[in-house]
Symmetry: D2
Subunit: 360 residues, 4 copies
């Protein structure tokens, strides 16, 4: 019962096979491998963006920070949600890569920025030399709270951004999960809705460690190349990144894995919904479940070997796995392509059983 | 009736005379001038800190950012109030000088951080590699809302900071005003209360453009020197900075000017208090008055040549000097050593007159 | 006949197998995987350094730049050879990671800095606030010209560095090749000779993309962790890096592969030595051969499919693969664990044949 | 006999008077003062550049570093002479302000880069992602060795720079001295010869501490404003900078002072030329004299109170004022507007006397 993170799970066997195949003989390094040419063509096709520039890096933090450094100068601010990975989980990478650009927080439910809140925050900055300028907007889809932005919701934010001459970046560490949930096309969820640059996640969705950055406008492609190189994110044996991404895109594996993960999360949420005393804290729209349950249930599933993080966006460090004085715990459960029915149903059953014990 | 800013006013004649005297003959450059030796000795005496390192720079932003860069590594965060100059008025200088350290905002009334809010904010960071670490705390005294921190209030914040192993910086652009308001000693308001580094303002209080940075613990003195140099803030003809600061400190000129400015602000606040329809928005504890009055009064004093900024911390850019739909305006009035009785009383009288006209 | 680079070759089958094994089930992320514990223990043992801090990253540029950022403050300089990878091949990464530290070039033959030249260069800096200070020394072993530093040569440089209070970093992208050439112990070539931090290469020597950074003094371990995270170099599925490194270290695979590569380079050099008109440009001490030969020979081996870079440290861009007016070309040939006898002997034979044709 | 530096001398009385006049009443801050409008108009007129953007800062390091940060991205290199102030005397400021751009050194006699050397250095960089790109060229006029670039010499360098798509910056800390020496127009020496940005010095030539930055192409004006602000180089009481610069430009004071300083240097050089055993080390074209003389002469003038730096570009720290084993010393003598005939002639006479004593 590993629900700690989608990056704790294994890579897909087809990815491993592709990696093994890629190891034959010699290949040009630093992104000049032939497989990368195919990856670029494939992603351009998938996104209906024949001019897009495509890059591979090894981590999501690198993807986000490099993309944002191309979009936001040092003297401007990146606007993001308080839950955003760039704010909460990257140790200030945006500040490092941009040369000091601050993050401005924009509120909204379930990890989704509200357009009105973005408008208000953007209105406070810019024009005066005394403040950071309006730099770029980054939104996370699926969000860190397991919700998704629809194309219309993306467009509404992009409209505000563009009215303030800000480009839009999407942190798509779980882009496949969002897309699988929405059923729209990749283009509809990105550049057609106003997204200029996308971190297209692979690591959380069945790869060993590869993310693509897609710049729909290739004007900054060479700048990205140079920033990637000097940040140590250009791999010499690049073919091993290309091979992962190529396998990911082949025959829709990326969407299949995301659909599977989403389905397990939905089933898990449904199961939890039947357990007395369990309360969902965010809508379950992708592959994450945020819920609260009694401490007794927490102890029961922990004893059974379940792995997950206690998690509260309000006070992230107030809870510990060992527990605390609160009568209930808030937790995050993440499913991935390798999650099993036994894990999902077993977990919900344990919580339900414990509830029965307690109410007896 | 210039109340726009304390940095719009003239330098004190004694400062100008000192500058003229300093121009005789030759002097060693880059801080090796003899006058700087006297300034250091004088400030050490005033602060009862015989080991303190003392530096002069030309602007408050340089003072704050250089001091904080010595206290906070790139991967940690500086904690400050949302109104703080480092957050609102320095175009991201802390991010630039530290190499990317973000600011974490800590709420509180009238520009004063609350210790509980600092504790909560600090508790959210640190320990995990995924987030910026706890770096340093900076508090502004007098605050940007015209209030002051007492030594006890400083100590309460410093206690929280030290419990999290964070050094404390005080932005004292209006330190003299705070001290004049409190009547305590410089040492009591700084290192005895837990302050490690002070930006000791001069520019807003009668100099042409000099701030001292005082490091009560001189361990980082050489680092400060190097950071100052490579940031272009080490003046070759340094004697002209020393001369200003020396005149400032001589015979208590600095405190005299601050007392005068504070007194005018108090008289102005009192006068406004007698004008119908005028409402103070923050306590007037130093040399700034934040108040709201009817738009008609605003037009009247503007027509009479008054100069001030419309100012709202809630929505800083919502108001313009030209006016807007609101029935009343919020404004900031700043007094300085050169403010006159005629300006202060005249201003209040005009508002009162207009109120009388309107109610007639 | 691929001699373009050791990073164009394949990973070793045992590494691929380890990767496949590592993919079973779930594992804690971000370096908390169990395999990483074993890697740390193994490297501590190999280096006889039970306190050393060990980290894995994906590229050599990341390893070098992160290590040097821990050793050299922004206001100081890193001393390196003009051929060094940090100077020639990392697009300014040291400047980026340190926050602006410049590189100071120190000459010497075959990519080895001369202690006297280091002493002279170090003597020019430091003490005065007007110049960058003395920061750190980085030496590359094996060098970029295919030579190696002996422990005594390392010690001589470290002695100069330490006399100027500078820590010493070794760029060991080809550390295994140097060690295989010298026959000393890892400790003798590093900390016992005065090295404080090592980039321990794996990528060029049979891995897919993993380098270890070893800090022999762990005082900066936490700083390194934070720098790695904010630079996007902490992998979530870290187990796949650990697995590569574990396989690399097991049963001496790393040294076996390096010995093999070195042996091919020696055989290649010997073969070239027998070809008329071919001239070695640097001593062949590791797995690289730098040599010059007539343009006719160049055309002959190119036509036969040989892959290598024309290379001249004096004027790196003056030559192109397509050729130029010069009667002879200078080239770099790199061997790796997968190089074959057929490639090595065939290449030398072709050059000899062409020489015979030309002289006929 | 103060020849230590032109920044050890006094400001001109007319500048002091202007400063005193500027202190009357109130003025808008942060560059919005009326005097700044006049300064901009005056400099545009002097340079025949009606569109140029003009900024004032307090130090030459700030002027250079801010200008270069606008011209050179973090991943490119600034090309300069090994003697350049940015290389030797600014503690890495260019690296700090640009976000890590390295300096590439370009040789040439007397502090003047050779176009061929620039071509060779530029040819080594650019195109490949592995190296810093070609960023900008900065030349110092008058040079750090007291020579000047003619308009033709500037044009020759600019031609190379432009062929590589690099903008050209001129460090004109002693621009007035160069212009006075050459007798051409300011436009001829700058934008007509291909200079894009100029640090127009005032501090070394009779001001207290003001330099102008002139961007002949105003496209980056707003970027400069923001960089200046976040670096703490935007003065609130900006009128005191404007007043200095206005007085400097009025009635040609700036050129008069430079002509005077140059004339004293020429007279000093002539006097030294008559002293046996004295040898000029660089041509004396502006206000600096580099010469070598016997140690006995050095002791004699030191005893008489002369102030100057022992100076050798080859080994800058090998000599000390206290002396050393060498039979002769190399020194730099700098004249300024306030230098006197007595100082100049007295100094040369002392050296001549000592030579007579020694040869007796």
């Amino acid at each position: 019962m590993w629900f700690a993170s989608d990056n704790a799970g294994p890579a897909h066997p087809r990815v491993m096979e592709a990696l093994a195949r890629a190891n034959a003989g010699y290949a040009a390094g630093y992104g000049a491998d032939e497989a990368m040419g195919r990856v670029t063509a494939r992603l351009r096709g998938i996104f209906e963006a024949p001019e897009a520039a495509v890059f591979l890096v090894g981590t999501g933090t690198a993807a986000n920070a490099l993309a944002l450094a191309c979009l936001c100068p040092p003297w401007a601010s990146v606007f993001c949600h308080p839950f955003a990975h760039v704010q909460e989980d990257e140790c200030g990478a945006v500040g490092f890569f941009t040369g000091g650009a601050p993050l401005t927080l924009v509120a909204g439910e379930h990890g989704r920025m509200e357009p009105e809140a973005l408008e208000a925050a953007a209105g406070r900055l810019g024009g005066s030399v005394h403040q950071p300028q309006r730099g770029a907007v980054t939104l996370t889809n699926a969000t860190e709270a397991g919700a998704v932005y629809s194309p219309d919701q993306v467009r509404a934010l992009a409209r505000v951004a563009k009215a303030h001459e800000m480009p839009v970046h999407m942190d798509g560490a779980r882009f496949a999960n969002a897309l699988a949930a929405l059923g729209c096309t990749p283009a509809e969820l990105t550049w057609r809705a106003g997204v200029d640059a996308l971190s297209f996640g692979g690591t959380k969705n069945g790869l060993l460690g590869v993310e693509a950055v897609i710049l729909f406008d290739p004007a900054k492609a060479w700048e990205f190349e140079l920033r990637r190189k000097r940040a140590g994110h250009l791999f010499s044996k690049h073919r091993f990144l290309s091979a992962q991404m190529e396998a990911y895109l082949e025959d829709g594996l990326w969407l299949d894995m995301a659909r599977t993960a989403n389905a397990w999360a939905a089933r898990l949420a449904a199961g939890l919904g039947r357990a007395p005393g369990v309360r969902l804290e965010h809508p379950v729209e992708a592959n994450e479940v945020f819920a609260a349950w009694p401490r007794a249930g927490h102890r029961r599933v922990q004893a059974a070997g379940a792995r997950y993080y206690l998690w509260s966006f309000e006070a992230p460090q107030a809870q510990t796995l060992e527990g605390g004085p609160e009568a209930e715990v808030s937790a995050r459960l993440v499913c991935n392509w390798a999650t099993t029915e036994a894990e999902v149903d077993g977990f919900a059953a344990l919580l339900a059983e414990e509830a029965a014990v307690q109410s007896a």
